[in-house]
Each structure stands twice: as structure tokens, then as C-alpha cells.
């Protein structure tokens, strides 16, 4: 779809109150940044401010949640502004239309898009600010601006120099230029150079302020007692005992449950503990949910084609029937909580027809609209003060603004400023999970072992279903976030007859995008299956992949570099084996080789992961390396440990003792090779999470000849 349609639809949906129309997920073909309407240049003052004391303040349109844009987007500005890097100060921008995502039309952070989507806008803002400073200096010196140059935060004219700070006020009075030229990349001084983070000093001293750390006089803390099963409702309750807990001030009913409002967290928690035994819940149909039964149901569904056709060419079923060899496999992945280290929280103050919100969010525009609706005011009367996010991974980007909406409801019902805080148990059991998914794949090989038919049936909840995005984003029964990585797989494109279909059942479990979204399961299924096919065909796994990708040089290069750096083909250390996987997502290609061993207790240990990453132009290689390491660690949690299961509607896990995640001793040594290419810039926050599951599973197979097709991977003990 074009940008214009998106913008028109955005306006229409704003008018109708139906919510915004934007894609959180960007299908590969739509990854172009739209031309700004009427070729307007950005308002440089919205993105960068130079102060008389020489500080350069960068306003961040996106949220810093660890991915490093605090530094990366500042580099874009600094490169063109030619300022002194040590004078940069960064702030989260307020929620305002000027900060709308260049590709999505709403203010948000997600989809590994911040750097590529802001590449032009932030550089342009920097270049415009520089031009205005130069023009102010030219006026001061009564000379032609073309005779001036800039150097590290100063304008230079022969032996004369003026610092940007000295010119700041005069520059502000200049008319922003109608057009600016951006530097040729050969002249870059900062972009492409490994650059340390700007937010380290405040984050290593405890000074960095997260949503959880917001404090102001009169702010109360609230914990919400939510139903024990999804979709449950309060039938009746007795707040007497809760209110007798010292520090508890109020118990108020809101749509999601009952909020205990207290002077501090501990009082609120004790109050909620006291309240819980006095709530009678109407559990509703959610009380029968059982994830094991759900998986069996998905298995049954996968035996027939899904109603949504995601990819189709030729007659895959006929070709399967006549293939020399048929390989059939099913892969499944469980529900997963994001479990960011900072539990969800949101502070809200409603006063004088205005609403102020302090929180770590990935979805400012949605939150603004949700809050406005609840408070009965206009979105422009809702101010959002974005705080550092103690991890996001998608959980802080809910189309329903769940944790923000709830906090506004509490503040409204209580009549006082309130910070709602989720405990870890609330987080693990609170839904908005990566959905449970099952893939059934049937592949026909010809006599030479080449795939000639590929039938692929995917079963799992649509993330977009039931959200304001559904009517625009789910096409012909296909939510692209369910099939991305399969329907557009370069492997499948090499198969002459193919059919990819999807079933999107709707059990009442809230689901959401989880770092790398659909790719979390599609990469596992695709790259495990490719490995199975290589063995079925009696071919070497790297060579088998290379044959399928023969005409796709970017993929081939990534595969071959990762394999070479990992010593693929050479004997691994005793007791270890290697596995290979390659996947494209968010515009970047990543190939990984995992080196694993298995202990006597059948515990899988991942020792080393060697990666080759092609994300097009690399802005900050040090940040890319960190994101790849981190994304692999995030993925490994799901490969080795994490799952959310439901029985009788109850989530069986509650905290990090049973919702296990990767800890430091399990962290492999990750080696990252960044491949520069001329391809359009891709994202880097998410792509490395996707293929690690298959890389490890394939290595486990190479070592044990056990093919593990369920996550988390568990070897049979016998």
C-alpha cells in the first residue's frame, strides 16, 4: 500500500474514532519510506536544538528501550550538524504529530525500523541546523556563507571562529533552508564508526529514570487484582480487609479488575493480597483453556489446508503425490511472555481537563488516543512523558494500550494521581504473549534430492485480530505476522510448486508481537525443515542451502561468511557439533552457526554462535554487535528454557523460577561479522532472535541424531 493511502486512512480512522491505521509490521515490499507530502523538509527545531552553552539537544521521536537509538539517531544528526559529540544531550520527544514515524504515520517504536526510517529525516534536520548556524555566522561576519566551513561545533572563517553556542540565538532567527545537500558517505566521520553509547553514564550510576522511578508529591501506587483467567470479570467483592491494611487508601473497580491504591508499593501489595480472597470472579469460558489441548487441536487443524492462502504457485498437492521422496514434519512453539526486566508501570495525573502520563511506551500515539477516550478529552490534551524503557521487546506496544489505559482508568476512578505497578507475577500471567504456533510441512524431493513441492500449513492466533489494525492489515484471512518468513522465504521461492496456508483460531488468550514477531516460529520451522531435507537428500547442509540460493548472492554471502568464520567443515572440539541457520527479517539477513554440546544430564549447552549480518549500511557497528548478541540471548531463552502453559485457564508459571530465561553462565560467545552491502538499510533489533532456534536444533541433531521439533528444546532423558 502506498504512504498516501495510509495517511488518508489514518485521517479517516481518526475522524471515525476507529483507531489508527498503520502497520506495526512492515511487509518487505512496503519497506520504502514514503516521500514526505509536498516534499516538506522536517522542522529542524523539533529534532535538534543548539543552546548558548554549546549543548546540542537531540529530540528522540522513538523510545530508547536498549536498542541504542539514543546514540544511533544522535549520530545521524551529529554527522550532518558537524557538532562536538561530547556536547550532545538526548531527550525523548513529547507525543506530538511532528514525531510520527516516517513510514507508519504514528509515533511509535517497533519493527526494527527506527534507524532506517529516520536515516534521512535526522540527517536532514542536522544539515538544516548546520546551514542556519552558518548563515547566522555569515551575517555576523558580513560575508558569503559559502566561504565558511564548520568544524566540531564551530563555524570557521579564515582565522575567525564562532562556536555553535555563540551563534545559537542568531541561528534561531534564520529562515530554515528550502533544501540541503546531505554528505556523501565517503565523507562520513561518525557514521559507520563503532561508537559508545551516550546513555551509559546515567545507566551505570542509577540516575537513569525509568517509568518505575517516577516520583512526585501526591503520586500514589496502585496494584490491580486482575481475573485469574483471561476474560474473567468481578462478580462481587468485599474491600474491608484490604482497606484495613496500613497505607491502603482506596479500592476502586475498573474494567480490568480492582485496583488497590496506597501510599507505596508494599502497602498496595499487602492490600491486594488481602483483597484477593474476597473477590468472587465470574470466570467465563476462559476457565477451560488448556494449552496442551490447544496444541492437539492445532495439530488436527493442520491436517487440512487453512482458509488463508499466504503463497501459492503451481499445484503443490499434485506435485507432492508424484515426488520421489516425501518428508513430513511438524514444529511447534509455546506461548511466551516478554518479561522485560522493568515490570510494566504507568503514572497518570488527571487535572483541569488535561491528562499527563509518565511511562515507558513504544506506542505514544495509540496511548494518547486511548487515554483521551477514557478521560473524555482530546488527544492533544494528553501529554506523554516517555521515560527510559526497562526493556520493550514488543510488550510496550499494545494496540489497546492495555497498561496505559488501565492506569488512566485507575487515576480516574481514584481521583488522585496514580502509578500502577505490575508485579512479575502479573507480567508472566498477564497475557499479551507470543502466540502458540504449529507448522505442518510436507515437502516432495525429486530424484536428485531437490525440493519440487512444498505444502506448508500454519496454525496460530493472529496478533492483529481484534485490534484496530485488523480490518486493514489482515488480507484474505492472512495476517502477515503469522506467515512472514515462510510465504516470502528465499528457500520456498526456489520450489516450483508451493502452497502456504494459515488457520487463525481465536482462543481467548491476548497475544502480541514478541521480538522478531512471526519470525520467532517461522525461522525455526523453515530452517529446521531445510536441515531435515538436506539429510533426507543425503546432502551436506551448507551445500544444500547454497544450491537453493544459487541465484541470491546476498543470502549466499551471509551463509558462506558465517560458515567460514565458524570453521564449518572443520572438526569441532570433542563432544561438540555445529548447526547452521539463515533467515531474513526486518530487511536484514543473518546467518548463524551454533556450536553445542550435550551434558550427561541431557542439558544443551550453546558454546559459540558465529554470525554474519547483512543489514545494508551499518550506522554503529558497536551497537549492531550488541543487538545481535542480545537478540541471540533473547532467542536462546526461548530455545532452552521459556514457555507459558495454561491449565484450567490458569497460567502455570509465575516468576523467573518457573518462567526460566537465559542467565549469564548460559551465554555463548557470540562473534558478529557485519557485512556492508549496497542493499537498502535493514533493521537490527530483532533479526538475530529468529534463526538461533534452528541453528541450535540443527546442531543438536548433528550431535545426537535426535530431531527436536518443539521449543523449548528438550532431549529425551533415556
Amino acid at each position: 500500500m502506498t504512504a498516501l493511502t495510509r495517511r488518508q486512512l489514518l485521517q479517516r480512522s481518526l475522524l471515525s474514532g476507529a483507531g489508527l491505521f498503520v502497520a506495526f509490521h512492515v511487509p518487505r515490499k512496503a519497506r520504502a519510506v514514503p516521500e514526505p507530502a509536498a516534499k516538506q523538509l522536517p522542522d529542524p527545531n523539533a529534532f535538534v536544538r543548539v543552546a548558548p552553552d554549546d549543548t546540542v539537544t537531540v529530540l528522540l521521536a522513538h523510545s530508547e528501550m536498549g536498542q541504542g537509538i539514543w546514540t544511533g539517531l544522535s549520530m545521524l544528526i551529529a554527522e550532518e550538524l558537524d557538532c562536538d559529540w561530547s556536547k550532545i544531550h538526548v531527550e525523548h520527544a513529547p507525543a506530538a504529530p511532528v514525531y510520527a514515524h516516517p513510514a507508519f504515520g504514528m509515533q511509535m517504536t517497533g519493527g526494527s525500523t527506527s534507524t532506517w526510517s529516520e536515516f534521512d529525516r535526522y540527517r536532514t534536520a542536522g544539515a538544516m541546523a548546520r546551514a542556519m548556524l552558518v548563515s547566522a555566522a555569515a551575517q555576523r561576519w558580513k560575508t558569503d556563507p559559502r566561504k565558511l566551513r564548520t568544524e566540531n561545533g564551530t563555524v570557521v572563517h579564515g582565522k575567525q571562529r564562532l562556536s555553535y553556542g555563540q551563534l545559537a540565538l542568531a541561528a534561531q532567527a534564520q529562515t530554515p533552508p528550502k533544501k540541503v545537500a546531505l554528505k556523501d558517505r565517503k565523507k562520513w566521520k561518525l557514521l559507520g564508526k563503532p561508537t559508545r553509547r551516550l546513555d551509559s553514564p546515567e545507566k551505570v550510576t542509577g540516575k537513569a529514570q525509568f517509568g518505575m522511578d517516577v516520583r512526585f508529591p501526591g503520586l500514589r501506587t496502585a496494584l490491580v487484582a486482575r481475573p485469574p483467567v483471561f476474560g474473567g470479570k468481578v462478580r462481587s467483592f468485599d474491600a474491608g480487609e484490604a482497606k484495613s491494611v496500613p497505607g491502603v487508601e482506596q479500592v476502586v473497580q475498573i474494567p480490568t479488575g480492582l485496583a488497590v491504591v496506597a501510599r507505596d508499593f508494599w502497602s498496595a501489595k499487602r492490600g491486594r493480597d488481602a483483597l484477593r480472597i474476597h473477590i468472587d470472579w465470574d470466570l467465563g469460558p476462559g476457565a477451560t483453556l488448556d494449552s496442551a489441548a490447544l496444541l492437539q487441536d492445532y495439530r488436527d487443524k493442520a491436517k487440512s489446508k487453512g482458509p488463508g492462502i499466504a503463497a501459492q504457485k503451481g499445484d503443490a498437492e499434485a506435485a507432492l503425490a508424484t515426488s520421489a521422496t516425501r518428508v513430513v514434519a511438524e514444529y511447534d512453539v509455546p506461548y511466551l511472555a516478554h518479561a522485560p526486566m522493568e515490570p510494566l508501570n504507568c503514572s497518570v495525573k488527571l487535572e483541569g481537563g488535561r491528562c499527563e502520563i509518565w511511562t515507558g511506551t513504544q506506542f505514544q500515539t495509540m496511548d494518547q488516543m486511548s487515554a483521551a477516550k477514557i478521560a473524555g478529552i482530546s488527544p492533544s490534551s494528553v501529554a506523554i512523558h516517555t521515560q527510559f524503557l526497562g526493556g520493550g521487546f514488543g510488550r510496550r506496544a499494545t494496540p489497546s494500550s492495555d497498561f496505559v489505559s488501565e492506569a488512566v482508568h485507575v487515576a480516574k476512578a481514584a481521583g488522585v494521581p496514580v502509578k500502577t505497578v505490575w508485579t512479575r507475577e502479573d507480567d508472566i500471567q498477564g497475557g499479551y504473549y507470543r502466540p502458540l504456533f504449529l507448522h505442518r510441512i510436507e515437502v516432495g524431493l525429486d530424484a536428485e534430492g531437490a525440493p519440487r513441492a512444498w505444502k506448508h500449513t500454519i496454525v496460530g492466533q493472529s496478533i492483529l485480530a481484534g485490534t484496530p489494525f485488523e480490518q486493514f492489515m489482515v488480507k484474505n484471512g492472512v495476517d502477515n505476522t503469522s506467515v512472514e518468513g515462510v510465504s516470502d522465504s528465499p528457500y520456498i521461492e526456489a520450489v516450483p510448486a508451493r502452497l502456504v496456508t494459515v488457520h487463525s483460531p481465536r482462543p481467548p488468550v491476548p497475544v502480541l508481537w514478541w521480538r522478531s514477531v512471526g519470525n520467532t516460529h517461522t525461522a525455526f520451522a523453515m530452517e529446521s525443515m531445510i536441515d531435515e531435507l538436506a539429510y533426507a537428500a543425503g546432502r551436506e547442509p551448507l551445500e544444500f542451502r547454497a544450491a537453493l540460493l544459487a541465484h541470491k548472492p546476498r543470502y549466499l554471502r551471509a551463509l558462506k561468511v558465517a560458515a567460514e568464520k565458524a570453521g564449518w567443515g572443520k572438526r569441532p572440539p570433542a563432544g561438540r557439533a555445529r548447526g547452521l541457520a539463515m533467515h531474513e527479517s526486518f530487511g536484514s539477513i543473518i546467518a548463524q552457526v551454533a556450536e553445542v554440546s550435550v551434558g550427561e544430564d541431557k542439558r544443551i549447552q550453546v558454546h559459540k554462535v558465529t554470525c554474519a549480518v547483512d543489514c545494508g549500511t551499518a550506522i554503529n557497528p558497536l551497537g549492531i554487535e550488541a543487538q545481535v548478541q542480545g537478540a541471540i540471548a533473547f532467542g536462546l531463552s526461548a530455545v532452552l528454557h521459556s514457555e507459558v502453559t495454561l491449565k484450567d485457564g490458569r497460567v502455570e508459571q509465575s516468576n523467573f523460577h518457573d518462567y526460566r530465561v537465559l542467565r549469564l553462565p548460559d551465554m555463548p560467545e557470540v562473534q558478529v561479522e557485519v557485512l556492508e552491502s549496497d542493499a537498502k538499510m535493514g533493521g537490527i533489533g530483532e533479526p538475530a532472535t529468529a534463526p538461533i532456534s534452528a541453528a541450535v536444533a540443527n546442531a543438536v541433531y548433528a550431535l545426537t541424531k535426535q530431531r527436536l521439533r518443539s521449543l523449548p528444546l528438550r532431549l529425551a532423558l533415556a
Partner: protein, 153 residues
Amino acid sequence: MQLNINGTAREVDAPDEMPLLWVIRDVLGLTGTKFGCGMAQCGACTVHLDGQAVRSCVLPVSAVAGRMVTTIEGLSPDGSHPVQRAWVDADVVQCGYCQPGQIMSAAALIAHNPSPSDEDIDAALAGNICRCGTYQRVREAVRKAAAQRRAER
């Protein structure tokens, strides 16, 4: 009751069973120490009690009366502790939320063990979860900090 926080005596009015974490955060307003799990599983709340790393989220405040508590704010006046410098140098942080806890665990380790082996580092930091996955650089920074501290002695 009277607490010694970062070298200063502080009189606090809090119930005996209130975890030290919430006294530090909600009563004293020192927000560098983080809440992550509430059951000593994640280490985000790590502080030093008489020089030892402890999880403040499960420690009743009554248990620390008269003892010396150090939080991330008291580790150094200006972020100059060798561990903090090594953290900046190795570019460890991502979202940053777990980092005060990681740093407090690392500082306690090298204070007691100036030459930690890789196994010592793994064992001392195993209780600190980082969902961003900064572990590889955490290891590197701890090694650097230990070397730095040895060099300064």
C-alpha cells in the same frame, strides 16, 4: 528505626517486614535500586550489606538495622568505581534497568576476589538476569574492572 545508607544515618518510619528494596525506593527515594521479581530471582535489587551482595527485595528492613547498606548511588560519588568505568568502556548497557544490580554484584565480587576466574564471574553474576542479553559484555567488563583494580593497588 535507624539505617545506615551510603554512609549516612537515616531515620525511617516503615513496618518491620517491609523489604529493604521498598524502603530504599519508596521511603528514601533512591530509585537506582530496581524492582524486577520480588523473590530474589533476578538480582535487579542487589545492594551491599556490610560489603556483601544481597537481594533487597526479600530482606525485611528490620534485619538491616545498624548494618551498612550501600546502593548504586553510594558505590562512587561520580560513577568512577572501576566497575562503572569498565561498564562504560565495554559499552555494556542496553535498556539499563538490570545494570545497577549487575554492577553491585560485580563490585562485591572483585572486592572479595581481585582475580576472578571466568567460572567465578559466571557464578557471581548467575543471579542477575538481563533480558537485553548484555551478558557477553558483562563478562568482559568484569574482567576489565578486576584488572583495573589490581593495577590501581
